[in-house]
């Protein structure tokens, strides 16, 4: 039996091209769904290409441990629509962290406890909290949101997000939470990024 090397070579090239195209296409689909899937009835959250914001210098770019299971407690005083919007933001980040995305493997599950500090955290899990605030702290006046990141031994082990009650639009809430969640992944603010970019720091202004 004679082997036709030229045919074999051609088949191999076609095979590799198909594989590569599939990987690129799948990554693109995951990327687009992670960045742009809005909550129901919202306009696309981010129609601009991903922009390089650099690391969050305030936290030296530390992030959740790889594969962290994060329990997100959402303040029950948020309306059901806003809770759904917040969940969609976290789900987008989870999709972005899949093996075909950035590979962080960070996953989020949700609770809506009024007093989260009394709840015990299952072993091996981390916590995040989203607050519905109307705190008159001077540094928060006029701001749509704020966030705090707990760093233990060089890794993020907790995050707390405050969303101003004056942000009434659920789509804006989703964008705000998506922006703040990015800080937990070590992303910095970007004042030079386009207005429609989630990580533009001025988009966190109310």
């Amino acid at each position: 039996m004679q082997v036709n090397f030229s045919k074999l070579r051609r088949s191999l090239v076609i095979f590799f091209v198909v594989c590569l195209s599939t990987i690129i296409l799948t990554s693109l689909v995951v990327y687009v769904s992670a960045q742009g899937t809005p909550p129901p009835n919202c306009p696309p959250m981010n129609s601009v290409p991903c922009e390089n914001t650099g690391v969050d210098k305030d936290t030296s770019g530390v992030t959740w441990p790889k594969g962290a299971k994060v329990i997100v407690n959402i303040d029950p005083s948020f309306s059901p629509e806003k809770i759904a919007a917040i969940k969609s933001s976290y789900n987008n980040w989870q999709t972005a962290g899949s093996a075909l995305g950035n590979g962080s493997g960070v996953t989020f599950t949700f609770t809506t406890l009024a007093n989260p500090s009394t709840a015990s955290l299952p072993a091996g899990t981390y916590r995040a909290q989203v607050n519905n605030f109307s705190n008159p702290r001077p540094d928060l006046v006029g701001k749509a949101s704020s966030n705090g990141v707990d760093v233990l031994n060089g890794e993020v082990v907790g995050q707390e997000i405050w969303v101003n009650r004056s942000v009434t639009d659920e789509c804006a809430v989703a964008q705000t939470v998506a922006h703040e969640t990015g800080h937990g992944f070590g992303l910095g603010d970007c004042s030079n990024c386009s207005r429609s970019s989630l990580i533009n720091s001025t988009s966190a202004e109310s």
Binding site: K57, S117, R127, D139, N147, V151, G158
Partner: protein, 258 residues
Amino acid sequence: MKLYRKGMWLLTIVLIITVVTSVVALNSGRFSKSTSIQDNKDEMPIADYSAPEPPDAGEATKRTAKNKRYDKLSSYPIKEERGKFTRVLSSHWATGLPAIPVEQSDIVVIGEVTAARAYLSNDKTGVYSEFILRVGEVLKNDDGASFYAGSIITAQRGGGAVRFPSGQIQKYKTGGQSMPRIGRQYMLFLKRIDESRDFSIITGYEFRDERIVPLDGKSSGGKRLQFDDYLGFTASTFLTVVRDAIGRTTQNSLRGDK
């Protein structure tokens, strides 16, 4: 051929040593922005987690009222963690704030920090730092109270370090901000807190070796902020800039443009 190779190696080594030495020498000789400003980083007043209340009932009441401002700062009370722990708050506080925030300030003063201490909120969810400032010069005073050289002002800023009974120290800070230090001279932009006698620090600039080092921005170890535009200014030039800004604000408010 061998001799040629040896010669090339020697030349390369000499070249590397020359370049490294030159870079080190150049960096040590100038007013180094990167090293000179970094000594503010992470230095903050400390609160004792188990500090007793002030023995004087009046003082205790005053302190409780001050602590209350920082209650409910987090859903998770401060507790000792196993390892090196820091909580970094990022409130985009500097977004939209001018580098010289004259309009946002009730008073602008130059003075020396004579004492500093951190305190926990009543519910132990927050920590704040309190600074005693001896006024040297008042540049702006829109406040009802009169201030003059020698006046004492109490100023606060959110954040600080907490020392636990075990000796472990944990830090709670706002991204982009650092804390004034005892014995140093600052120009502080202050805002009155509610109806109290205290002020909160909006931002500040340190006078160091006749030069200006912003309190906030890169000196906090964080990213560059608008305040860093004035890093390395001579004290006299900076004073002129601030006085001009205050003059413009006063004229605007007299014209009713404010």
